[in-house]
Symmetry: C2
Subunit: 432 residues, 2 copies
C-alpha cells in the first residue's frame, strides 16, 4: 500500500483511515443521489453551465495544478507520449469548459417515457427513465475525463465518485472543485460529484467492495485496470474492453472511398479504441489494394500481411496468427485477403472483439448482410471506424464504449447512464 505523502494534498489517509474516509464519501454520495435524482432539468443545465464558467475563471489555477502533475510525471519517468495526454493548455481547458456546455445542451435523459401502454383491465403502464444512482468511475491519466465523467453523471442525475488516475490528481482536484461550484450555484448538492481524495491505489479496492453504496462501476482505462475491476468487483460493471476493429473492402467497393476510409480508419489516430487494426480485402477487390497500401506506407504505417498480400506489397512483414488477435494501438496494420463478405464475417467472428467493424461496398445487399451478421456494438457501412465515439454519435461526450452485451452497449453517454422503472396507474384494480 503506497501512501500519498505529497505536500499540499488534501489528505494523506491510508489503511483503516482510508476505509473510514471512503465510507464517508459513500454516505455523502448516497444522500446526494436521492436528492439529485429529483433535480429539475433546469437546475442541472444551470449547474453544468456554471461549472463551465468556473473552469474558465479558474483556468490559471488548473494550468498550475496540471504543471505540478506534469512535473511529477516527468520525475517518475513517464514517457513523452503519455505526458502529452496528461498536459493541458489554455485551448484544452477551453475545450473542457465547452464540453460541459455541450452536455448541458443535450436533452435531459431523466423522466423520458420510454414506452407506455394500457392493459385490457385499464391499468396504464409506463416505462420511465430514472438515474442509476451512485456511479463509481475509475479512470486513468487524462484530466478531461474528470470533467466529462462528472458532467455526464450530473446530466443523468447520478451521484459520482470519481477515482482519477494518480498522474492527473492535482488537475482533477481543481476540475472537481469547479464542478462543485457549479452544483452549489444551482442549489444542488455538491457531494453529487466527489473525487477520491488520495492517490493511494487501495482506494480502488475499497470502491469495488462498496456494494449497496455504489450502484455501478465504470472503469475507463487499459486492459489491466478493466481486468482487475471485472475480477474484483462485487458491483455491476459497465466495461469497455479492447477494440480490435476491422475494415472490410468488398469487391463492390468504390475505390476512392476505400482509399480514403482505410487511411483514416487506421491512421487518423492510432491509439484510440476505434482505430482499425485489421484490414480485410475481398479477393475480388485485389486491384484496389496497391493504392490503399501505398497510402498507408506513405503515412508511416507498418504492414503485416498474409502471403498473398506479400506478393503485391514486398515491404510488408509476414503476419502470424497473433497479428489477427492484436489491438496494436500503433501505426501497424494487419492485412488479409478473404473470400467475399462471408470470409470477412467469418474472420471477424473468430478474431474480433465485438467493438466496431466496417464494410466498404456499393452493394446494398452485401452491406445489409454484413450489418446483420457482424455481431459488434457498432457496425458501419462506408465510413471510418474512428467514428466509434460518443461525441461523433451526437451524445455530447462519452464515458467509454461498452463492449458488454447487456445494455448499455456501445458509446455510453448521459442517456446510457440511466435505467428505468415501471409506473402503473390504476383505479382500484386487483389481480383475479
Amino acid at each position: 500500500m503506497t501512501t500519498d505523502t505529497l505536500a499540499g494534498s488534501r489528505t494523506t489517509t491510508t489503511g483503516p483511515g482510508l476505509g473510514a474516509e471512503m465510507a464517508e464519501i459513500g454516505r455523502r454520495a448516497r444522500e446526494a443521489a436521492t436528492a439529485f435524482a429529483l433535480a429539475s432539468p433546469e437546475a442541472k443545465v444551470a449547474a453544468l453551465n456554471n461549472a463551465a464558467t468556473a473552469i474558465r475563471t479558474r483556468a490559471g489555477e488548473i494550468l498550475t495544478a496540471n504543471a505540478r502533475d506534469l512535473g511529477e510525471a516527468e520525475t517518475q519517468g513517464m514517457s513523452a507520449a503519455l505526458r502529452d495526454r496528461l498536459a493541458l493548455d489554455p485551448k484544452r481547458v477551453e475545450a473542457i469548459a465547452a464540453g460541459l456546455e455541450a452536455i448541458a445542451a443535450l436533452p435531459d435523459p431523466v423522466g423520458r417515457v420510454l414506452a407506455e401502454w394500457t392493459r385490457p383491465n385499464g391499468l396504464s403502464i409506463q416505462r420511465v427513465a430514472v438515474p442509476l444512482g451512485v456511479i463509481g468511475i475509475i479512470y486513468e491519466s487524462r484530466p478531461n475525463v474528470t470533467a466529462d465523467a462528472g458532467g455526464l453523471a450530473l446530466k443523468s442525475g447520478n451521484a459520482a465518485i470519481l477515482r482519477g488516475g494518480s498522474e492527473s490528481y492535482y488537475s482533477s482536484r481543481v476540475l472537481v472543485a469547479a464542478l462543485g461550484e457549479g452544483l452549489r450555484a444551482a442549489g444542488l448538492p455538491e457531494a453529487a460529484i466527489q473525487l477520491v481524495p488520495t492517490r493511494d491505489r487501495a482506494a480502488v479496492g475499497l470502491m469495488l467492495a462498496m456494494s449497496g453504496v455504489i450502484d455501478i462501476i465504470v472503469p475507463r482505462g487499459g486492459p489491466s485496470l478493466i481486468n482487475r475491476v471485472q475480477r474484483e468487483s462485487r458491483i455491476p460493471v459497465i466495461a469497455h474492453l479492447e477494440g480490435l476493429c476491422h475494415t472490410y473492402v468488398d469487391g463492390a467497393a468504390d475505390p476512392e472511398k476505400a482509399r480514403k476510409i482505410v487511411l483514416n480508419a487506421k491512421m487518423r489516430r492510432v491509439s484510440i479504441c476505434g482505430a482499425t487494426e485489421t484490414l480485410l480485402v475481398d479477393r475480388a477487390a485485389l486491384a484496389l489494394l496497391p493504392a490503399i497500401l501505398a497510402d498507408l506506407r506513405a503515412a508511416g504505417c507498418e504492414l503485416r500481411s498474409d502471403p498473398e498480400v506479400l506478393a503485391i506489397e514486398p515491404t510488408a512483414v509476414p503476419a502470424s496468427e497473433e497479428d489477427w488477435c492484436t489491438e496494436y494501438l500503433d501505426a501497424i496494420l494487419a492485412v488479409r485477403i478473404v473470400d467475399g463478405v462471408d470470409g470477412a464475417i467469418e474472420h471477424i467472428a473468430r478474431y474480433g472483439s465485438h467493438h466496431t467493424d466496417a464494410i466498404i461496398t456499393e452493394d446494398k445487399a452485401t452491406a445489409e448482410r454484413f450489418v446483420r451478421e457482424v455481431d459488434s456494438a457498432i457496425v458501419l457501412v462506408n465510413a471510418s471506424t474512428q467514428f466509434a465515439d460518443g461525441a461523433e454519435f451526437g451524445m455530447g461526450a462519452e464515458i467509454g464504449i461498452s463492449t458488454q452485451r447487456l445494455p448499455p452497449r456501445g458509446p455510453v453517454g448521459a442517456e446510457q447512464l440511466t435505467t428505468y422503472k415501471y409506473v402503473v396507474r390504476g383505479n382500484g384494480q386487483v389481480r383475479p
Copy 2:
C-alpha cells in the same frame, strides 16, 4: 458430487466427463445462436406454435414423466406444497401449450429500430435490437418454467441452456423435446434450446464458469440459488432478488379501494414475489384500518404491528425491527402507522427491496410524489402489488423480475432478453 444414476436418464456423466459434456453443449449452443439470431420472425412463430402442438400431442408422455418426478419427490420427502408446484395435470399441460402460443403472438423483439438519427456529416445512425446470444437459465422446481424460459429465449432469438430443478427433471426433458420438435419442424437449429442432461449439481458450477460461451446467466429461484450465482458467476447475471413489497394507504385513499387492494395484495397468493409484506397506513387514514384488518383476519392473515396498531387490533402480535425486513411469502403482514407520504417513502427507502410498491390515494399530487420518489422497479397507484408479473404487464410470460438497477429492470420478457447494436450508414465519411 452426486451422480445421476437413475434408470432411463439419458446420461450419467459426472466429474471430468460432465465437463466435456457441458463444453459440447456450449459449443452446440454457440453455433445455434449464430444461425438463430438471423431466424425470420415467421420461422420463430412457427417453431413456437409447432412446439405447442407437440406438447398437446405428448400430453400423456409429459404426465407420465411428471408422475415419475412426483414419485421421487415423495420418496425424498418433499412437502405437499412443493409437490403441488411440481405437479402437472391435463389443465396445466394445456396452459403450458397455450403459453407458448401467447409468446408466439407477441411482436418479434429482434430488429426493432429503437432510435435513429442523422448526424450533420450525413451519417445515419440506428440503434437496433439484437439477441443477447447464449443464455444460461438456472431455475428450480416448476416444470412450466422450462417451457416459459425456452419459449422466451426462442422468441428473442437467443440460444438457451436450461438447467432446471432436479425435481422436475423428467418432466422438463419431455417439454424440451417438444420445443426441439417445434424448432426442427420450422427449420431452425434444435440445439437452440438444450436441457442440461444431468441432475448433478456440479453442472451449475460449470455453467457459471462458461464465460465466452454463455453470454448471460438468469437464475430463477430462492435466495440461496441467487446468492450462489451472484457470488460464483464470471458471466453477467440478470438477477431476481427478494420482493419486500409495500402497500401504503394514504389519508386521501378511497376506503373501498383500500380494502379491496390491500386484501388482494397480501392474500391472493402469499408465496409470490409481488405479494405485499408490509402495510403502511397514513396516520390520517387510521379510520380505515379496522375494516382493512378485519378483512385480513377473516382471510386467515396473521398481523404483526407497531404499538399504535395494537390498540386498534388486539389480535395483532407486536412487530420487531426484523418484521420490517422480512419477505414472509406467507399469510403474515407487518403493519405500521406512518406520517403521510413522506413517512411511507422514508420507510420504503430504509426497508424496501426496490421491487414493487404501491400507494392508494385519490390525491394526484401525492401519487406523483410517491411515483417519483420511491426507487423501485415497479411503482403502482391504486392497484394491487400482485400485478408485478410479466404476463400481467402484457409480456406474454416472464423469466423473472429483475431487481438490479441496470436494464433489464422489472419483468423480463422476450423484449428484455435482447440488447442492441448501432448501425451507422455513410457514403465515404472519414473523421476529421
